[in-house]
Symmetry: C2
Subunit: 235 residues, 2 copies
């Protein structure tokens, strides 16, 4: 399905002629290398997605964003809009769907853009890459990027949407001090923080009871969790 | 508890003398304004957290990151390390705990840094802000930032950790085409994608059956979900 090489290399004068959110594409590609680490194909498609959604909104509107996958697309949004993961204007669903929405936070009206497989089928290299029908090394990155940049919006669809969930600020609720680890946590999580409930992702000597006066060695539940504690002592 | 004004404004010559991950603090503050939208106190503390964790790792190590809150801290990691949300090197737990870990992805050994309330109590303005004991307007941003920058690592603790979960790449598994919306989704989610199972965050005319040949109007579950469909038609 994948033709090797196929299209000629992208002409040097074509790149600056393409813009994403008002900025030259080659500047976006450089920003991608700097921020994302490489010109990931998904993040390049994502640039066209953000550009189309943004261009469909009223000029000057600072939209909020929802992205339907953790892979690549969040970085396209973070590079091309004021929305970041840490400022709360970007929300990410771990759905592995190649789609995103930009919307007006006041009216909740906006646009969703997605990789449209019926259109992508007309670009067999891109389709094969996205659906993982061919081994990665069968299609060099430069060739795939060339196809993606030539395709532009040609593999995407856009539709108006009204956002019905996930919008607005996350309410923090009451803050408490965990009696096991002594750190602040949201009271709604229970009598101790989630980490001290056994959902933690780490082992180490850092857990110490403070509110309760217990050290972590004296707390059976935490001790159990830390039995094979990493040997290095706290600095 | 909050003393208004308190410390004198940060001397202009103090700022460039402080570095975070080898870069002058004032450059970080400007990058924060550009990327995050403002010099959010949590993101400034986050800069000191990332700096301390990074400095504790072997020089030159490109660490992976885990952050324990969606608020502010993810942007400190994204600005000061190669880890971004979209490239997969940064994982975020929605735990509302002000802590992060940087670790060696090969050995899984690293360091966790957290806001240590026992130490923060010695900085009453910062403690009151973090625990929301005082109204926001009681403490102007510039004064709070001044206290935070003077405190530096003084409100933090660091401990070695061994990462036991969340590390490594997310496996994608098999991809399928949703019979309702015609978009690609991970087969593990079921017979249709999560959005078509009713977990969607939007209403609009964009849902159309493709694999099945059904339009969204003909799919009872999806029709129900879209009954109050936004009036604007698909472009």
């Amino acid at each position: 399905m994948v033709r090797n090489s196929a299209a000629p290399a992208l002409e040097a004068d074509l790149l600056p002629a393409i813009t994403l959110c008002g900025r030259p594409l080659d500047r976006y590609l450089r920003a991608l290398e700097e921020f994302h680490g490489w010109r990931a194909p998904g993040a390049v498609i994502g640039g066209f997605m953000v550009d189309w959604a943004q261009a469909s909104l009223p000029p000057g509107l600072e939209a909020d964003a929802i992205v339907e996958t953790c892979h690549c697309l969040p970085d396209a949004v973070q590079l091309l809009t004021p929305c970041t993961f840490g400022n709360g204007w970007l929300k990410v669903l771990d759905w592995d769907k190649f789609a995103l929405s930009l919307y007006d936070k006041k009216t909740l009206e906006g646009f969703r853009v997605w990789l449209d497989l019926t259109k992508a089928r007309a670009f067999p290299e891109i389709y094969a890459w996205y659906m993982r029908l061919a081994p990665k090394k069968a299609l060099p990155l430069e060739v795939l990027l060339d196809h993606i940049i030539r395709a532009g919006r040609g593999i995407l669809s856009l539709a108006p949407v009204k956002i019905t969930a996930l919008h607005g600020k996350k309410e923090k609720g009451a803050t408490a001090i965990c009696p096991h680890c002594g750190e602040a946590y949201p009271l709604r999580q229970g009598a101790t923080c989630l980490s001290c409930q056994g959902q933690g992702y780490w082992q180490g000597p850092g857990i110490r009871g403070q509110g309760s006066g217990l050290s972590w060695l004296e707390s059976p539940a935490v001790y159990e969790k830390n039995r094979n504690v990493w040997s290095q002592a706290e600095g």
